[in-house]
């Protein structure tokens, strides 16, 4: 697509000259994930000096966006090879075996780049969507979305810089539903102290590492006194271990209102699953939409890179109109995670330059 070609042009014009970059660093030591990786044999770079990354294109515009990433990586001479797996719930390309293949690939690569696997509303048997199953098996408990305004791309709120951290494995997405009486459906939302503490610790560690000053916990504990009350309590307990970071709490509906009136008051936000989904999308809309926001998901062993607001955008499929910015920025983040700082900066600078110049912008 035109935007991707522009980024390639930014490389070849000589404003950034790629050079072959062979790394002998192991994936384990080069990981910028905050959690110490469990005891496992250090993964050496392959003899051909290339990192292997699992790639799951997903549905909708996923495959096109992945093509854009591959083109840009080729132009920048990035030493990454992709192990591709095509999973799709809507196209019936899912099965236990395929899931096992992806998981074993992840075990050796530890890093993945992924598009959105669309969840159809009709379900057969299992209530959990494929994405949820993948997330649970890999225990990707933390979803981090960095909302920052792109220079040159004007929206109603400019110069935004927030981070949204969302607990991704429990909460409202527990997929525990049943029809207790005909016409009455019960849906369980599960909150555990362990997972709430884990995500709170992740948020504070993240804030400390990135030099952030404030963490705001978002909740609805005035109504869900036990559930969100437990989440809030866990956040408060963890906050006491980090006296240098300011800790605040805010109710979700007020938070949404404040985000559209004065988003600059926020720094890092941490919240359970559903509220995270809402705030991710709301904040993505503030800086320009799902096409410009990168995101990543972490577990203690793996890192999965994807866009911030996850939509398959099926109506744009095949029409060459999808915005690859989010996926390209995501791939740059992935390269940083692999300690390929040089290539990471090259790609993100090129993307930002293209947007700033305003030469090519998708609808």
């Amino acid at each position: 697509m035109a935007a991707a070609r522009c980024v390639l042009a930014a490389f070849t014009k000589g404003c950034c000259t790629p050079r072959s970059y062979v790394t002998a660093r192991t994936l384990v030591t080069s990981s910028s994930v905050l959690y110490p990786v469990k005891n496992s044999p250090p993964q050496c770079a392959k003899p051909d000096g290339v990192f292997h990354v699992t790639m799951i294109p997903g549905d909708g515009v996923g495959p096109e966006l992945m093509r854009a990433v591959k083109e840009v990586f080729k132009a920048a001479d990035v030493p990454v090879e992709f192990d591709e797996f095509h999973l799709s719930e809507v196209q019936n390309l899912i099965s236990e075996e395929k899931l096992e293949e992806v998981l074993s690939s992840m075990k050796s690569t530890r890093v993945a780049i992924k598009g959105k696997i669309h969840t159809p509303m009709a379900f057969k048997g299992d209530l959990a969507s494929y994405e949820m199953t993948l997330r649970r098996k890999l225990d990707l408990f933390a979803n981090v979305v960095h909302i920052s305004s792109l220079p040159g791309y004007k929206t109603r709120h400019n110069n935004l810089d927030l981070v949204i951290i969302r607990e991704q494995t429990e909460g409202e997405y527990s997929s525990l539903e049943h029809e207790s009486v005909s016409g009455v459906i019960e849906c369980m939302k599960i909150i555990t102290r362990e997972k709430s503490r884990r995500i709170a610790k992740f948020a504070f560690d993240f804030a400390t590492k990135k030099g952030r000053s404030k963490v705001t916990a978002v909740h609805k504990a005035n109504i869900m006194k036990l559930g969100d009350g437990l989440f809030l309590q866990s956040c408060k307990e963890v906050a006491e271990l980090y006296p240098m970071i300011k800790f605040e709490t805010m109710i979700i509906d007020n938070c949404c209102m404040q985000l559209v009136q004065n988003p600059y008051q926020f720094d890092v936000l941490v919240m359970p699953n559903l509220y995270g989904n809402i705030i991710d999308n709301l904040a993505a809309g503030l800086v320009g939409g799902a096409g410009v926001v990168p995101g990543e998901s972490y577990s203690s062993d793996y890192a999965v890179f994807e866009t911030g607001a996850r939509h398959p955008f099926a109506q744009a499929m095949g029409r060459n109109i999808a915005n690859p910015t989010a996926m390209l920025l995501t791939s740059a983040n992935m390269l940083r995670h692999l300690n390929l700082e040089y290539h990471s900066n090259m790609i993100s600078e090129a993307v930002k330059r293209v947007i700033k110049l305003g030469k090519v912008s998708p609808p």
Binding site: G183, E186, K189, M257, N281, H311
Partner: protein, 344 residues
Amino acid sequence: CETCKQQLGTRTVTMIPGDGIGPEISAAVMKIFDAAKAPIQWEEKNVTAIKGPGGNWIIPPEAKDSMDKNKIGLKGPLSTPIAAGHPSMNLLLRKTFDLYANVRPCVSLEGYKTPYTDVDLVTIRENTEGEYSGIEHVIVDGVVQSIKLITEEASKRVAEFAFEYARNNQRSTVTAVHKANIMRMSDGLFLRKCREVAETFKDIKFTEMYLDTVCLNMVQDPTQFDVLVMPNLYGDILSDLCAGLIGGLGVTPSGNIGTNGVAIFESVHGTAPDIAGKDLANPTALLLSAVMMLRHMGFSQYAMNIETACFDTIRDRKVLTKDLGGNSKCSEFTQEICERVKDM
């Protein structure tokens, strides 16, 4: 208009002034209605909870009788003191009168600039079940389960209300907001009911959209939305989000529709104890809720007059309360609206 008055007669409405700035903004609204010669008589009642015969908390019987008789109520902000022992007043009212739908029209105010212009949508939220069922258990220490309840009956009721509202207020589209891709059974049921009701309202367009997509699009282009109908939690969040788009809770009207024709219109902001009694409060939210009430009762001409007077005052930006960017008093703002409405 005189014909309305003749056909409908003067109606009595239960007025619940509320706490904090409640009494002053209620007085302001009554003054404006007087100036507009609206055919409304007010019956003031207090709803502070008392212990009933069975030991559970109820609202005072004379308040309940008044509402049952008049059917229509206007309510200011209520506070629930922390050590009061009784549950939230709003919750109590909701349960007493089975207020199943909360309606919030959000319209951009000319003269009160926000980054979002041309907002004109209505959020209709199911108010009795969903995530706010209050059913929670501690399964084992450190694991809590909250139950979200969705029933066929409540979903159908709110969907029917949404479509009727759209029809009565000349709105063209109703959008169901849900997360049926994740909560496949519960939101799936809600969505199914909306679809069924849509079949019987062929003159209104029906669309459905995921909650996250709505949030994403709402902050980029709110003009694409018309009437939104959704379960409890999403409604709570989205209605506050939309209030934020037009300027906050101080300018947003709200109405609660119950069974047996009961409807309570209210301002959704807080009691603002720091400015109570100082003639600084902004009565816009309560006034616009009262206008909604007039329309609900069929007094559309009076509603139009009062609303226009209010919007004109705000557009002119000469006499505005502090929260709207001016430095006039509540009484001055009220007076200005009264003058304008008298001229109509």
